[in-house]
Symmetry: C2
Subunit: 212 residues, 2 copies
DNA sequence: CCGGAAACTTCTGTATACACTTTCCTCATA
DNA sequence: TATGAGGAAAGTGTATACAGAAGTTTCCGG
């Protein structure tokens, strides 16, 4: 396995955080959490450092890490930031997209469809993410891509819930198609609108499950 | 001293990175860098993890950390992202600012002026940063504040050069005053413009010193 | 003389161990 | 009963140590 323990731990913690296993505001005792994942504190701390950059945990010197409080309002912040930054990414992408880029994105969109038909949530999530980030990366702004990745990560666990409902599958396919169509025409405005529609739907889905 | 070694190391590395001591693309050998700062590899790794979130270094599993390549183009990306995100922060801040907030910001602006008169670069930098982040924080968007902090950090070392030139001192004072005036009037549009002027000037100053 | 595989070197990733800080409890005192 | 000093317990921050992966050199067969 080429994945370091710290990376895997970060993924595990994300799940536990967002599934409510680790509750908001709670102190994170490194020893016990490390034991839970069967690793030592060193890789755990690196995972926590990464999650801090995503805003899922906060750190106080000599006092340790605490679970950040995620409320509906936080979710709205994440989505507002995505709105702004994804608009920038897509607008720039429209300027730079080559035909090869578009072909590649089309192939990934096909992957998403075939993943949806299997119902394998992990595969759907991975494919969907690949699709959107293939577009974002075409903007040629690596920092922007990284920031967006952090924002996506911070709500990663909720996306599974969204994919779980088969009623959403056709929406996803349609919205990806709309985005692709706009990209083909290099129509930044339409592309931004298509992306926004996609995002708004999933925000509604997610924020219903949070306090406040 | 309440600062953990890892935090201090991150600051040290930032300086060495941006002063050219550590060159772009270069592999970071943890052992030697740790020795250089007189610490062990553990806090160094945590510092590197943090710097990765800022985009100053990149990590490849089992291969280690490498110095990110910073070109004028990267600087333009950082400033473009700041432009978008600071506009959002200031717009929201205008909605939420209380009189007490404004008073506090005024006091910090005075700190900046007195720091400028002493010529102490570290103090000027700290005061200037406090000033702008006091405004950003008033937006009530903690993730946005954190992202902006990362963007500021990634060019921190260059800001010193800007403050060093006394010709810029009056600019800084005037622009802070203009921003404050707009904030008092809760005029989001003017405030964004004032902030933009401030930023543009320092971008020009910084990007002249980079390759490409 | 060259290509490729095996041994070696170097460095990363992680476990263990310990010092120092914070927190909590106890108990004496007003 | 409330309060604060003192000390024990718990937990973080970091140094040291080691296993294993990546990179490098050496050596052999062609």
């Amino acid at each position: 396995m080429p994945t370091p323990r710290s990376t895997r731990a970060a993924a595990d913690i994300r799940i536990d955080l967002l599934s409510g296993e680790l509750r908001a505001g709670q102190k994170i005792v490194q020893e016990s959490l490390a034991a839970r994942y069967g690793i030592s504190r060193i890789p755990l701390r690196e995972a926590l450092a990464q999650l801090q950059a995503e805003g899922l945990v906060v750190h106080e010197p000599n006092r340790g890490y605490f679970v950040a409080r995620l409320r509906a309002e936080d979710m709205r912040e994440v989505y507002r930031l995505r709105e702004i930054l994804e608009a920038e990414a897509i607008t720039r992408a429209c300027r730079h997209l080559s035909e090869a880029d578009i072909e590649r994105i089309v192939r990934i969109a096909d992957d998403v469809e075939s993943a949806l038909s299997t119902g394998d949530l992990a595969r759907i999530g991975a494919a969907n993410r690949s699709f959107h980030f293939a577009v974002f990366e075409a903007a040629g702004m690596p920092r922007l891509t990284r920031i967006l990745a952090g924002l996506w990560d911070s709500t990663e666990a909720y996306r599974g819930l969204y994919f779980q409902d088969p009623a959403n599958h056709q929406h996803i396919i349609d919205e990806h198609a709309a985005l692709l169509d706009a990209l083909r025409r290099r129509d930044a405005k339409d592309a931004v609108v298509a992306q926004a529609a996609h995002r708004t739907l999933s925000l509604r889905n997610v924020s219903d499950r949070l306090p406040d």
